[in-house]
C-alpha cells in the first residue's frame, strides 16, 4: 500500500493527463492546453486522470460521452468547460469552468486533488455488467454451435465477406462505430466502419463533425472593408492548426507543437518573424519525412468531390478557383492562385503549406501597404468560398466514397488532410 500511495503522490506531481472530449466550439480549449507544459493531452481515456468535456454537448452525444467517461481508470475526475454536466453528475463533485484562462490551473488542481484523494472522484455512470452477457451455449461454450458459430458475449463472430478489396485474400470483417469523441479525426464525427483486416471496406457517416467557427474577421469582411493582413493571418492560423492535427497523427509530436505554437503567434505584431519560423518548420517537416513517409499518395478527390469541397482541396486537385481573385485589394498585392495537380493527400498538404507561406507573405505586404479588402459579396474562407449567404457546408458524406479500399492508416491520414466540417454561422469568441 505504501508503494501505491508513494506512486500516486509521484504521479500527482507530474503533468495532468487529460483526455479531451470535444463538443461544439470546444477546440479552443484543446489548442490552449496542448501548449501548456503542465498538461499532457492523451489520445485514450485509459491514460488519463482527467476527463475534460469542452464545449456544448448535443443530447444524442450524451450516451457516447457516458461510455468514454466510464473508461477512465479510477481515481479520476471530470471538468466541464463551457458545458453543462450530465444529469447524473450534477449531484457529484463536478467542476465547471467557463474561462479559458482559468482552465489550465483548474485542470492541474483537479489532477493533484484527484490523485491525492482529496477530491471526490467521478462516479461510474453505466452499470458494471457485461454489455452482452455470456450465453454459455454450444459445443465450445461460445453461445452457438461449431467452432465458428454462435454469438460470443451476444455479439456475432466476424464472418468472411464475399470479396476482398486488396489482393483476393478474403479476411474476416469487423464492424464498429467510431466517434464522436475519437481524437484522431474531427470532433463530433461518428461513423460506422467495416474493416477487412486493415482495409476499410465500408464507411457510413452517422453524425457529421461539429461546425467549426471561423475567426470574427471573416464575418467582418462581409460587412465592411477589413485589413488584408488580419484576414491572411487568421487563414494561416487555421491551416497551421490543421497541420498540428496531421503532425500529431504522424507521431511527430515536437513538430506538431511547433506548428501550433506558430498558429497561436499569428498576430500582426509578430508578422516579421513568422515567415522565417514557418520556413524553418517546413524544412524540418521535410527532413523528418512528413511527406515521404507519413503522407500516402492516395485519397484522390474526383472533380465532383473537389468542387463540393472547394477551397484548398479543390485547388490541390487542379481547380484554379479562389474568391480572392475577385477582390481589388488582393489584385493590388499581385495575388495569384497556387494549385497542384494530383488532388491526393500529399498534394493537399503541399497546397496547404504553399497557401500558409503565401498568406504570411501577403500579410506582411498588406501590413506595409495598409491594404484592405474591397469585395463584400464574396470571400475566400480557409474552408472554401463564401458567396451570398451560403457558408461552406459539411462535406463528411464524401468519406463514404473516398475511404473504402484504403488501409486504416491511409484513411486516417486522408481524413486529416481534409477540412470536412461546415463553417459555423457564429464567429469564434
Amino acid at each position: 500500500m505504501a508503494i501505491i500511495s508513494w506512486l500516486s503522490r509521484l504521479a500527482a506531481r507530474g503533468p495532468a493527463t487529460v483526455f479531451p472530449a470535444l463538443g461544439m466550439r470546444g477546440e479552443e480549449a484543446l489548442y490552449r492546453l496542448a501548449l501548456n507544459p503542465r498538461i499532457r493531452l492523451v489520445d485514450s481515456p485509459r491514460h488519463a486522470s482527467l476527463l475534460l468535456v469542452a464545449g456544448g454537448m448535443p443530447p444524442e452525444m450524451q450516451e457516447p460521452l457516458r461510455r468514454v467517461h466510464d473508461q477512465l481508470p479510477a481515481p479520476f475526475t471530470t471538468l466541464w468547460y463551457q458545458s453543462e454536466p450530465l444529469l447524473e453528475l450534477q449531484q457529484a463533485d463536478t467542476t465547471r469552468v467557463d474561462s479559458l484562462d482559468a482552465l489550465p490551473d483548474a485542470l492541474v488542481d483537479a489532477h493533484r486533488n484527484a490523485l491525492g484523494g482529496e477530491l471526490g472522484v467521478s462516479p461510474r455512470l453505466l452499470p458494471d455488467a457485461p454489455p452482452n452477457p455470456w450465453q454459455g451455449l454450444g459445443d465450445d461454450g461460445r453461445g452457438g454451435e461449431g467452432m465458428m458459430g454462435g454469438v460470443p458475449y451476444g455479439r456475432p463472430m466476424a464472418m468472411p465477406p464475399t470479396d476482398d478489396l486488396r489482393d483476393g485474400l478474403a479476411l474476416d470483417i469487423l464492424t464498429f462505430r467510431l466517434g464522436p469523441f475519437f481524437p484522431l479525426w474531427p470532433a463530433g464525427l461518428a461513423a460506422e466502419v467495416t474493416l477487412q483486416g486493415d482495409i476499410v471496406q465500408q464507411l457510413s457517416v452517422k453524425s457529421p463533425p461539429f461546425p467549426r467557427p471561423l475567426a470574427p474577421v471573416f464575418f467582418e469582411a462581409r460587412e465592411r472593408a477589413v485589413p488584408i493582413a488580419r484576414l491572411e493571418l487568421e487563414r494561416a492560423r487555421h491551416h497551421l492548426r490543421a497541420l498540428f492535427h496531421a503532425l500529431h497523427l504522424a507521431g511527430l509530436e515536437d513538430l506538431a507543437l511547433d506548428a501550433l505554437g506558430l498558429a497561436q503567434s499569428c498576430e500582426p505584431e509578430a508578422i516579421g518573424a513568422l515567415e522565417k519560423r514557418f520556413r524553418a518548420l517546413a524544412g524540418r517537416m521535410k527532413r523528418r519525412g512528413f511527406f515521404a513517409l507519413h503522407l500516402p499518395a492516395c485519397g484522390t478527390l474526383g472533380e465532383k468531390h473537389a468542387e463540393t469541397l472547394g477551397g484548398f482541396a479543390a485547388r490541390a486537385a487542379g481547380i484554379d478557383r479562389d474568391a480572392r481573385l475577385d477582390d481589388e485589394g488582393y489584385r493590388r498585392l499581385d495575388f495569384s492562385v497556387i494549385s497542384q495537380r494530383k488532388g491526393d493527400t500529399r498534394a493537399r498538404w503541399h497546397q496547404r503549406l504553399a497557401e500558409i507561406a503565401q498568406s504570411l507573405r501577403l500579410a506582411a505586404q498588406a501590413q506595409q501597404d495598409d491594404a484592405v479588402t474591397a469585395n463584400l459579396e464574396a470571400l475566400e474562407t480557409p474552408r472554401g468560398p463564401w458567396r451570398n449567404e451560403e457558408l461552406p457546408g459539411d462535406a463528411s458524406a464524401l468519406l463514404e466514397e473516398l475511404l473504402p479500399g484504403l488501409e486504416w492508416g491511409e484513411a486516417l491520414a486522408t481524413v486529416a488532410s481534409l477540412d470536412l466540417a461546415g463553417v459555423s454561422q457564429w464567429p469564434r469568441p
Partner: protein, 115 residues
C-alpha cells in the same frame, strides 16, 4: 537430489514473483465492464474481435524456411558428396527443385517486393 533442488528453486522464485505482482494490487477492484470494452471514441463494436487476420509476413517466413532448409541439408551433403558422387548430385537436384517451387510461390505472392 539436484533436480529436486532445481524444482524447489523454480517453485520458490515463481511464488515470489506471483506474490510480488499480487501484493500491491490485492485490494484493487477489477476494472468495470464498460472500462474493459474497446475504446472507440464513444462508439461500440458490432462483432466480436475474435476475427481471423492474415499475417502478411507469412510469405516472407515461407521464403526464409525455403532458403534455410536448403542450407541445413547442404552442409552434411557437402561432406558426403565426394564419396557418393552422381547419386548425391541427383538427390540434391531433386531437393532443390522441390524447394524452388516454394520460392516461385513466394515470388508470385510478392515476397521480393519491399513495401
Amino acid at each position: 537430489m539436484n533436480l529436486l533442488a532445481l524444482l524447489l528453486i523454480l517453485l520458490i522464485s515463481l511464488g515470489a514473483g506471483l506474490l510480488l505482482q499480487w501484493w500491491p494490487s490485492r485490494r484493487q477492484a477489477m476494472p468495470t465492464y464498460p472500462q474493459r470494452a474497446p475504446f472507440l471514441g464513444g462508439g461500440l463494436p458490432d462483432t466480436h474481435a475474435w476475427s481471423r487476420y492474415h499475417v502478411r509476413y507469412y510469405p516472407m517466413a515461407l521464403l526464409l524456411i525455403a532458403f534455410e532448409m536448403e542450407m541445413m541439408f547442404m552442409y552434411p551433403w557437402a561432406v558426403v558428396y565426394v564419396q557418393k558422387g552422381l547419386v548425391a548430385v541427383m538427390e540434391m537436384g531433386m531437393f532443390l527443385a522441390i524447394l524452388s517451387v516454394g520460392i516461385l510461390y513466394g515470388w508470385r505472392e510478392g515476397v521480393f517486393k519491399w513495401q
